[in-house]
Amino acid sequence: MIGVVGGCDDTRRSGKVHVEFWTMSLKPKFIAYFEARIAQYQAAHPHVELEWVDVPWDALQTKLTAAIVAGSAPALVQLNVPWAYDYALYGALRPIDDLMGDDRNRYTAGAIADVTFNGRLYGFPHYSSVNVMAYNRALFQQAGVTRIPATRDEQLAVAKAIKARTGQYGFSPALGKIAGVFLEEGLPLVQNGRAVFNSPAHVALIAKLRDAYQAGGLLKDKLFSEDNYPASIDAYKSGRMAMLEAPPSALTRVRDDAPDIYAVTDVAPVPIGAPGVVAGGWLFHFAMPKGTRDDVAEEAARFAKFLTDDENELTFAKLAGAFPTARGAAADPYFGQLPRNAGAYEKAMALGASRLDKVRTLYAAGGPGFERLNKRLQDAVEAAVIGRRDIREALDDAVAFWNSKLAP
């Protein structure tokens, strides 16, 4: 039921190729940036007419799905990786291997890997994020913590010490995305078509999280929410939490809203798990809905490559406090050279850029009905961490449920 998209009769009459592209929640901050790029591109390509539509992130899936069904989808749409995976799974996106060509080498390997599903490329990488660990030096000193935690185990131990000695919380791991937490630690969810997240290693990880939770080391507010970021940053800004795992842009909020906390903030790398992947990778890219007319697809691909070239990615990254996916932009001295009197934000940007090769978007790749499996896993972990259920029993039940649904 996918119709022809990305073009219209009016533009055919005018002799111009109409390329509509959607971005995700970039207005109003980036209006000037995109308007300048649109004007520049249209001046260089007079046969192309660009139309920019910015859609709030929480409405994007609904609008895009409706547009695809109605045959009025844009030629390019900015998506995150899990959403793109779902759309690709349903055959709603056009693979872009042919349109990308050799330009794929311009992007970081991690970014290309993020948008490759079942061997096909589905997006032009735009920008990504990398988590760093901001910590409150004053709380660390008060708690007698002298060594910055480098592993998840050390971080959980520090969280307990912070609670015991200062009364404040340690940190807030993203337990609402437990699949990602397992994957960061190199613990698989499914192997050979069977759920395996009840192994001793999985149980041990949940046990450590439960110990830290029960010792009061983890921020309880929104701990199991899909998005615990706002609660975490609020707790950190108010001095109620000692460590904040977040992208560098979070530190600009600390700097602006809580200068006293910012003054005692320093940054360190987030603990890296067994697979050597840095947490917090969240890639945004431009995908192309299936059914886009060939002439529109070619022009849209050219425009996407323009938006994601070294120069534009660098400008965007500086504005957004994000990280580029174009190799040339990522290698720019802006990310490597710390200015004098660098604050926590500048240090975080430099630290994040140094780890771009190790960052990946971690998510559980599902299929139809995956939400329900994920919900069962989330509930099992939550019940185990807060002590309502035995860890092994909760994970066993969830595994049995998964396997009943995964069975061919």
Binding site: M1, T65, D221, L223, F224, G369, E371, E382, I386
Partner: protein, 309 residues
Amino acid sequence: MTVAELPATAHDGVDRASTARRRGMRQAARPWLFLTPALALLALFTFWPVLAGTLLAFTEYNFLAPPKWTGLANFEDLAADPVFWISMRNSLLYLLIVPAIQVGAIVLAVLVNNSLPGIRLFRAAFYMPVVTSVSVVGIMWGWMYNEQGLVNAVLQALHVISTPIGWLTDDRIALFSIMIVTLWRGLGWYMVLYLAALQSIPKDLEEAAKLDGATRVQRFWRITVPMIVPTILLCTVLSTLSAMKVLEEVLIMTKGGPVSSTYTGLYYAYDQGIRAFNFPRALAASLVVSVFCIAVATLAFRVLRPRHR
């Protein structure tokens, strides 16, 4: 020969009958003609979506491919999902606030049905939560319920509790915490309805009872309550249906957590449709909730219907 002098024939009788029938039909059609615009809008925006939604509940459909008829599969799926049963149990538990909200609203209405100085201020204050956006209410109560929020601070200052309570993070009490917010939001609305009912009671009834020596309590139970029974019925049915359909408070304050302990029937449907993008299962859940609401409303009408006037 004038028309008036024409002899009556059998045809004339038939004509008169058919004319009368036509006139009758026209008269019968007239109200429908006036109703047509509204009915057309209702058909387009209410009846058709309800019908289409009901049919889709029996299909597999993801928007990107045509619906595939699957019979009762979505309902069987619901029956096998423990979260759905938690949701329905919570919707039933939510009915606990119906008597609380009705008693509270009647008491408030009686209290503010006095002509004391500044009473309008109190009436407005009690009504404020009704006109406040549910988002604002949810965020405000979220802060108050926070472990370091106002509720815990007050209770600790009064030495009622020694350690903070996780009002929204403890799965054993989170649902009741949200119920308190619903109660707080709803009191003012029902208070106004009861106030209108109280003010419509003829004053002479009370005065006659006073002359007969009836006490205040006797007057309340023998005059006030019987006179507002129709309002009690209306408010009970309305609050029952509202309780069954609670969604916004859960959405803003807990999103169904912790451990799915605050899922309600309608939140489950919302979650399936908007978050999981499983529209047929969401519609199946909505259908079950709707049938449940109709059954409860019918029961409430039967039990509370005034037996005599």
